[in-house]
Amino acid sequence: MGDLISNLNLGFSIALSFQNLGLAFLGCLVGTLVGVLPGVGPIATIAMLLPITFGLEPVGALIMLAGIYYGAQYGGSTTAILVNIPGEATSVVTTLDGHQMARQGRAGVALGIAAIGSFFAGTVATVVIAALGAPLTKLALIFGPAEYFSLMVMGLVFAVVLARGSILKAIAMIILGVLLSTVGTDLETGQERLTFGLPFLADGIDFAVLAMGIFGVAEILRNLDHTETRDVVHQAIGRLLPNREDFRQSYMPVLRGTTIGAILGILPGNGAVLGPFASYTVEKKLAKDPSRFGRGAIEGVAGPEAANNAGAQTSFIPLLTLGIPPNAVMALMVGAMTIHGIVPGPQVMTRNPDLFWGMIASMWIGNLMLLIINLPLVGLWVRLLKVPYHLMFPAILMFCCIGIYSINSLPTDVMFIGLFGIVGYILIKFGFEPAPLLLGFVLGKLLEENLRRALILSRGSLETFIERPISAVLLAIAAILLILALLPSIRKGRDEVFVE
């Protein structure tokens, strides 16, 4: 406990420096600004804004990136409430009651409770990260390659179970993602694999390029297909601060949402996605009058938004302690850390305590900033939401090009976002979800490395994965999950959760 306080103390002393405070503010502001644009989710936002942090020193850069992430998340919720367009999977639930509230002239209250709920959830999640960081890091030290491999397999199975739509398609996307990650020079033998003999593929496919193509460009192409019907609220935004009655109705949902989101967020394989859905289902079950849901029930905004933010934050835990990114956003964080010469994993906490604790403290500050930035700026966001798409997408396109070019100064990277954009668009057309592909790609390199190492240690025996107890347990969980997900009765329930 004393450790926790002194560590947080160290963190705050770093995060509260004038420069870092400014960077957190700037990150939140820019993140929200871009995240508010309909059709631009957090992944595209971070990939686009990554280059702005290059010139900073590592601590400042990561603090700013974390700010951009929260900003983009909150921006997505704003769009969900005001325009009924979810920026990404986690804000789908917010559209249900949030947009209805907006139509009833209570958009301000919906935005306000979302911000306050998120802030509370963020505060709790920050403490959870600080408390769990040290013990989980110790756990990581007893993990060998076999355990790492099994953990990642479990994470990928989670991602399959949590993906929307067909399980077969999700599995195909994950395997395809891992396959894409094997492109490039084989680290152990130095031979080039699947490169078509092209020199710029020798280093493999850059993650930012793939993410920008699949989530930036493909999303533009998908949006161009659908004629624009944007449902910006006509009603006045109304007062922003929830009144006593609103608070009375929403404090329990916020508490429950925070708990659900924080727990699910720790799971590898993008558990955070499930948080808002789970929270919404729970609130609906517990409500005295469930028919209010879908017609502007404030609980349906408060709970899921808290779960969303708690999950967004606790998903830093697998990255910071085990070095395994649990979702695509965290994979971008890995990219950013690598650029600054930091290898994410258990050693970060001991070798760069400033960075580790500074970043954790800045998470809380970031949440506070969001509250301060968003409430007065709602009018600006509304105006941004009215920019017609035929003017917005060329701008997004140019930002994508400039952003990706400035990462490596390679024109081929720019061409590849076009290529991956087309591939991503085709995949979407065929009914595939691109998110599992990205996760497979992210974990692919680590997966292969640990598989090979484990097999070298065991002299080629695959039994090592079952003989080692931790690894066996992880694989067993993965197998059970997969079987459960394939059982018809549970599958039906799973579909219902996502349909709601």
Partner: protein
């Protein structure tokens, strides 16, 4: 916008394929798997004890292929969604815009074709204006204003404030300015000129009544 509205599949069907989307997706996966196996054909598989470079890619390709095969088989047995029709215009034009940016941002040569590096000053507006034509409700004037205002913004942000090594303008352009001017002076002056041009274009265009508004604007927003 991440949730396209899914309508029930049209009842009209021809041939044995009962789920066009799954069939096409399955074939696509099979093609990708075949491509990967073809590319890795000469690499050694190795043994489990010391895996060769091709072992994992091969396994994964078989996995992708198996999923593809399963989808093709399922599409013949079970009803499912049909392929949505889509226009070619969007993807083709966006791809051209991206390529235009890529080949003009810095010197580019490919075979007999070679282009001088024109920098962001040219490639930025190119991307915006070409890209704008990806949709049918395109109007040149707003696009021009957008290009003329976003380009100086990006020039100042990336080139001046953040000092990123991204080419802003060709050297021959800088030579047009007085000898004493530094690169940054040229950058700022150019940005200023572009902004003024954007503003002028915006103000002269205002008198015409707006022809179409595709989002509802509410008056009582405060």
């Amino acid at each position: 916008m991440s949730q396209p509205v899914r309508r029930a599949a049209a009842p009209l069907r021809r041939g044995p394929i009962r789920a066009g989307q799954n069939f096409a997706g399955g074939v696509f996966l099979l093609l990708l798997a075949a491509l990967a196996l073809y590319l890795a054909r000469d690499l050694p598989q190795g043994t489990l004890r010391s895996m060769g470079p091709a072992m994992l890619p091969d396994w994964l390709a078989y996995g992708v292929g198996a999923c593809g095969l399963a989808m093709v088989v399922m599409s013949l047995l079970r009803d499912g969604e049909d392929l949505e029709k889509s226009a070619l215009r969007g993807p083709v034009v966006v791809l051209i815009a991206i390529l235009a940016f890529a080949v003009t941002i810095r010197p580019f040569s490919m075979g007999p074709l070679s282009l001088p590096g024109l920098g962001m000053l040219v490639s930025g507006p190119l991307a915006i204006i070409i890209g704008g034509y990806a949709t049918e409700d395109v109007r040149l004037r707003p696009l021009l204003i957008l290009a003329l205002s976003l380009t100086p913004f990006c020039m100042v942000l990336f080139g001046d404030l953040l000092n990123l090594p991204i080419p802003i303008f060709p050297q021959s352009f800088a030579n047009l300015f007085p000898a004493g001017w530094s690169q940054k002076d040229v950058l700022r002056a150019t940005a200023l000129v572009l902004t003024v041009a954007a503003l002028a274009l915006y103000l002269t265009g205002r008198r015409r009544p707006a022809t179409r508004i595709d989002v509802v604007v509410d008056e009582d927003e405060s």
